[in-house]
Subunit: 601 residues, 2 copies
């Protein structure tokens, strides 16, 4: 039972049969065809020899199949993690050097340990602090950055830089050196991939293919582009014409080796490893949950952490670099009918076969085609409309998104994401420090109390009912005191003030002091403070102090009960309340207000 908790493969492995295997095998073939060019391309994006992308697509898939809980998540190198790898390592070592490759393995190892550690300590909730607007801004900015950084391969020029202010001048400076045949190949590849993504399925169906076959065949477009490009380079000797190619790739499977443990370097890489882990985890879980929901399968965040952790450790010991669950390939895997993580095992076998048989053929693969694959893939991730939608919904969320986006583009990947998270939290804290407070009155014909400025309600002249729309804690404790003072000054006839605590989820020590001060000051003005609708957990805490004994007022179960007790005439007026108590009709005790009634809910 406990073993199965950490090894979800025991659950699906028990019922594994030939039919499931056939479905997994078909999905694996399609994903393999898609993954080979992607792996090569993302390795290049990470500043690593392309073959390391293939290495990172074998053992990690096996490790995830053992520990991961998603049935259809496809793990491997992804664009954003590759960009973050490059931005963490490029300031330290020359891209592609042995030190750089070793550091990439160490980064994967650190990322794996961070993820596994989070699983064991159940710290998965930390990922929740990456808000959707921050993630969205980060993904859009990263995709733009990736696309622009790959332009150099399309143009056949060299350009260094991790941010727009570095990249753009470099690109402009080297633009005159562009290679015409490279640009031609790159542009053709982009056009083909762009067309295939949009129209290939429709075209294949018009040619008579079934929808499923057409969808699966269209996934082979990048592989086809690669084959054609290799043939073109080899046939026309374009390498001699200045088209940069992948070059010699070591044949055979990667040897297993622990990354060199350099503690200083590990310390330098740790912040990047944490961020890569968190971002990768969020991306994986989002994809995993979306796909799992379609088939009503469970996703356990702790299992995901462990599965991704194991995958990264596996990448580290087999010459790879940080990996995570990819969006596009997981959807393809799911749609192609994958039933279990065994599809990942088959994919790994397919990649291994590719490494053993195909690597000599990849020598003439132009880098421009790989860059085209990346550009077309990542541009679909850019969603600038989301910025507008978020801004329209909430200025605060929109600001966080814009700051993340600008930070990633202009300052750097890690700084941008940290700025976004920090700003989101600060804006929330600032918001809670100036809570909305409403004077509430009784909605006629009910026992419900709402804001007097938005609803047509009945108010008592003797009892002032105030609803505080926030937990009471130190940043807003003094604000509460000031607002209560103001509101009391505006209602000179009031003899009782009821603080309706339906929104108060916490009263901390500072706020307790403020409540005492409020009760004391009100008492000096002949007004009694009461509380209503105090929730269980808050009541438990108040009972640990002597406030309730000393403040002199009552704690009412509901605001209606409070008004019923403190001003019975008000609730028994015609149309008010619902008890039908006998009582004098005192219309002068009521004030009817009707403002903004169209916004009333």
């Amino acid at each position: 039972m406990s073993l199965q908790r950490w090894l979800p493969c025991l659950a699906w492995g028990r019922d594994y049969n030939r039919e499931t295997a056939a479905q997994d095998g078909l999905a694996a073939m399609i994903v393999t065809l898609m993954l080979i060019p992607q792996s090569l391309a993302y390795a290049m994006l990470a500043g690593l020899p392309p073959v390391t992308g293939l290495y990172a697509s074998m053992l990690p898939l096996l490790a995830y199949a053992l520990f991961g809980s998603s049935r259809t998540l496809a793990v491997g190198p992804v664009a954003v993690a590759s960009l973050m790898t490059a931005s963490a390592l490029s300031p330290l070592f020359p891209a592609g050097s042995p030190e750089y490759i070793g550091a990439a393995m160490l980064l994967a190892a650190l990322s794996g340990l961070v993820l596994a550690g989070m699983a064991l300590l159940r710290l998965g909730f930390i990922a929740n602090f990456l808000s959707h607007p921050v993630i969205s801004g980060f993904i859009s900015a990263s995709a733009l950055l990736i696309a622009i950084s790959q332009l150099k391969h399309i143009l056949g020029i060299s350009a260094q830089g991790d941010t727009l202010p570095e990249l753009i001048p470099e690109l402009l400076r080297h633009l005159p050196d562009f290679s015409a045949p490279t640009l031609l190949i790159g542009a053709l590849a982009m056009a083909w991939l762009w067309w295939a993504r949009r129209h290939a399925k429709g075209a294949l169906m018009q040619l008579g293919a079934s929808p499923t076959l057409a969808a699966n065949l269209s996934k082979a477009a990048p592989a086809l582009a690669i084959i054609v490009a290799i043939l073109a380079v080899a046939g026309f000797d374009l390498g001699a014409a200045g088209v940069k190619v992948v070059g010699a790739i070591p044949q055979g499977l990667p040897g297993l080796a622990l990354p060199t443990l350099d503690l200083d370097l590990a310390g330098q890489l740790l912040p990047a490893a944490v961020l890569i882990s968190l971002v990768g985890f969020v991306e994986s879980v989002s994809v995993g949950q979306t796909l799992a929901a379609k088939r009503r399968q469970p996703i356990d965040p702790d299992n995901e952490l462990l599965g991704l952790g194991a995958a990264n450790v596996a990448a580290a010991v087999s010459g790879g670099f940080p990996v995570t669950g990819g969006f596009a390939r997981s959807v393809v895997n799911h749609d192609a009918g994958a039933q279990t993580p065994m599809a990942g095992v088959f994919t790994a076998a397919g990649i291994a076969l590719g490494v053993l048989l195909l690597t000599p053929l990849l020598h003439d693969l132009p880098q421009a085609v790989l860059a085209a694959t990346i550009i077309v893939a990542v541009l679909s991730l850019v969603d600038l409309g989301a910025v507008l939608r978020t801004w329209r919904y909430s200025r605060q969320d929109g600001l966080a998104q814009v700051v993340t986006l600008a930070g990633v583009l202009l300052i750097g990947v890690e700084t941008g994401i940290l700025l976004g998270v920090g700003l989101s939290l600060l804006l929330f804290l600032w918001r809670t420090s100036r809570p909305h407070m409403a004077v509430v009155g009784l909605v006629p014909g009910s026992e419900h109390f709402r804001n007097v400025e938005r609803h047509r309600v009945i108010e008592s002249p003797r009892v002032l009912s105030i609803r505080v729309d926030e937990s009471l804690y130190f940043p807003n404790a003094r604000f509460l005191e000031e607002r209560v003072n103001e509101l009391v000054a505006q209602h000179p006839e009031v003899r009782h003030l009821v603080l309706m605590c339906s929104s108060v989820n916490l009263i901390d020590a500072s706020a307790l002091d403020s409540l005492e001060a409020i009760a004391h000051r009100l008492g000096a003005s002949g007004i009694q403070l009461h509380l209503s609708e105090v929730k269980g957990p808050v009541m438990d805490q108040l009972n640990r102090s002597d406030f309730l004994q000393r403040f002199g007022g009552q704690v009412f179960l509901s605001q209606f009960q409070a008004l019923h007790c403190l001003d019975p005439d008000c609730v028994s007026a015609p149309g008010a309340g619902s008890k039908g108590e006998a009582g004098q009709n005192r219309p002068q005790a009521m004030q009817d207000r009707r403002q903004n009634q169209d916004t009333a809910v």
Copy 2:
């Protein structure tokens, strides 16, 4: 009108008359008698020549009288600000050197500009982020640190250090060098001051003094100790016996001079200046509000910021160091009958008279007596019982208090306070990331809904009512999804889920996505999501998205209305609801629970 907004002195100055002047004058005399020894002592604590304490007690009082809004706050050097000054400057320059004195003036100038800037930008709310437990822990720790740091003067030894781990070994190492006559004077002074603080008033009343006279006379105990000590040192030539004295004090008023503007140094001092400003502001406003409440006078935080800012700038240009409103002296000022800030002007005049006439007499004043004044004053600020009280009320507040206390004692004043504030905020955010959620049911005989586990309520088998006790925002968005899934799984017969939003003060973009996901998943299981008791501001925001059009459910004014609409039989059952609608009595539609009823409110 606008001028009076920033110059409260125009308000009280208009009605100023001879009677008020007499009351202010008497209070000023008593405060002057108290302030002269305190000023000398706190300057020594700040690592400055004692006379700078007198300088800091003249012009700043005039500046505060112009701009401050508190009628009775007494401004000047205080223990905590002096300790913070020493801890900011001692790593940079040797104590008492001209550079040190110049840096203290610069620190006062920065602090003044920070305060004035906060006033103009209306940033006073920042001070609210210092929670009461953090302030209490900080004050207790500072007082302990001050008392221990002054032991060296009582023992007549030298010992450097700003934290306990530095101070304690130094004190122990130099302990054998202690000076017996110094220790005797210091111990006698401490004993006298301690006795005077506790019993002098009673003793004077037994001798026939009126309570007011006795209280005022007892404030002169430190001044008496100083006179006796000076006479003893002069009479028995104790200076030759190793008793360290204050020494030559330059006579005359301080010259006005701008502090040297060293931008590098200013940058280094700025963080300390900000913290000194915030802490000083919080202390002043607390004292000011307490005293103002007694006489029902207004305190405007913005005026206080400007008043304290002006006081610090005045301290900077007249050879002083950071000042703020002191607790003890303000209470004395208030109790002695001060009516307006003119009492501060008179006090300043008294101090100036002292500087002109008395400074030659202070040459033989033993440092041990000043140290005794400090120790007795600050030990009354140590309140370790507060740690226990806070811990009992709230583990989170207690933890923040202990961390602040330990941080100040062991690491440093600024680090300690920043640790406390940071931890308080993190604990709050952590708390909101895992909100309390309750399944609620109808309280019989009312329209009020409460937790089924705490109250005896009526539940509908078809409608699941969930109250979320927190704003919905990114750290808890995923948690909400998971909890809703769990709760729905526990209630398989449910067809409607009503999210009661009475505690939801915000639904941010991430939470909106989660709500859409919840509605979508519930819909796939044949359950309809509804909302109830959505507040006006939240509703306004939801209307800026298309969620309400797309989620398929209804938004009910109240939870009762929701149940009334979705399961009318449930609310019309005997004892339920209060409308008395006709309807079938379906007892099987009700579940009565009664748990923890003694905690029910």
